[in-house]
Amino acid sequence: MSSVFKALADPTRRRILQLLRAGPLSAGELAAHFDLAKPTLSAHFAVLREADLVHSRRDGKQLIYHLHLSVLEDALLGFAQLFGIEGPVRTQPTESSKPTGDQT
């Protein structure tokens, strides 16, 4: 559960989850919504995957992400959005969430 809280504490990751609510998106399509370096975004995807909040499948050269939230996780995401719960905003990936080399 702590991995879920860690994942939801970051506004970028919450924004990714919000975007995925509309339907599955490729890593490239998601990246278009952010002004972040590819390794940073890959680290965010890795944290979300580790918390089992998103699933990814390979479609040719692309990685397609889709939402994998339980009702409780969905509610936590809503609360985090509503009350603006935030962990420290990082511009670089942390040691524990190194990039995984996602292709866009």
Binding site: G23, P24, H66, L67, H68, L69, S70, V71, L72, D74
Partner: protein, 187 residues
């Protein structure tokens, strides 16, 4: 959660649950000799389940593990219901006049529904089902909470009606949404 799963999966858990069920049933029969069917039917069901489990064990390890898990959980639920009936019989709580056994069973049902409804959106295999299962999960979680709150605070008759209305209403909503989505996809 991992500890609970490990406990349920342990080979001793089914034997312990069955023993507890037997003990509780015998105690209740001694206290309420006019109602032997109260636990006899459930004990027979569990016994039949154990026979099926032993048969499944000789066929497939995976099926046997799943049956073991289900039987242990069923046994635990029955034990809780019989335990509540015993508490009611022995007047151990000030609210013994109320039907504690019935309330406990309804709360267990609400908890099970809550647990399944919570993970329902995770079962989506495609984008088409993601929205449907998300809606179904949320609707059933709310229905289970209404059901639980009803059985916690309302008089038994009213709680029963609230519970039924919540669950049936939720199922109708889910089915209605599914039909509407299907119709809009066809047009």
């Amino acid at each position: 959660m991992t500890t609970i799963t490990a406990l349920v999966a342990s080979p001793l858990s089914l034997r312990l649950t069955a023993s507890a069920l037997l003990l509780l049933g015998l105690t209740l029969t001694a206290l309420r000799p006019e109602q032997p069917l109260l636990w006899l039917t459930t004990a027979i069901s569990l016994f039949v389940g154990v026979i099926v489990w032993r048969y499944a064990r000789s066929q497939s390890a995976q099926a046997a593990a799943r049956l073991h898990h289900a039987l242990t959980l069923a046994g635990v639920i029955l034990c809780l219901a019989l335990g509540a009936a015993l508490v009611d019989e022995l007047r151990l709580l000030p609210m013994s006049g109320e039907d504690i056994s019935q309330r406990t069973q309804a709360l267990i049902q609400a908890l099970i529904l809550l647990a399944y409804a919570n993970v329902m959106p995770k079962m989506a295999s495609s984008a088409r089902w993601q929205g449907q299962l998300r809606f179904a999960g949320w609707t059933l979680v709310i229905a289970a909470l209404v059901h639980a709150i009803g059985w916690l605070f309302a008089p038994v008759e009213l709680a029963r009606n609230i519970g039924i209305a919540a669950i049936v209403g939720a199922l109708l909503l889910i089915f209605g949404r599914y039909l509407m989505t299907r119709r809009s996809e066809e047009n």
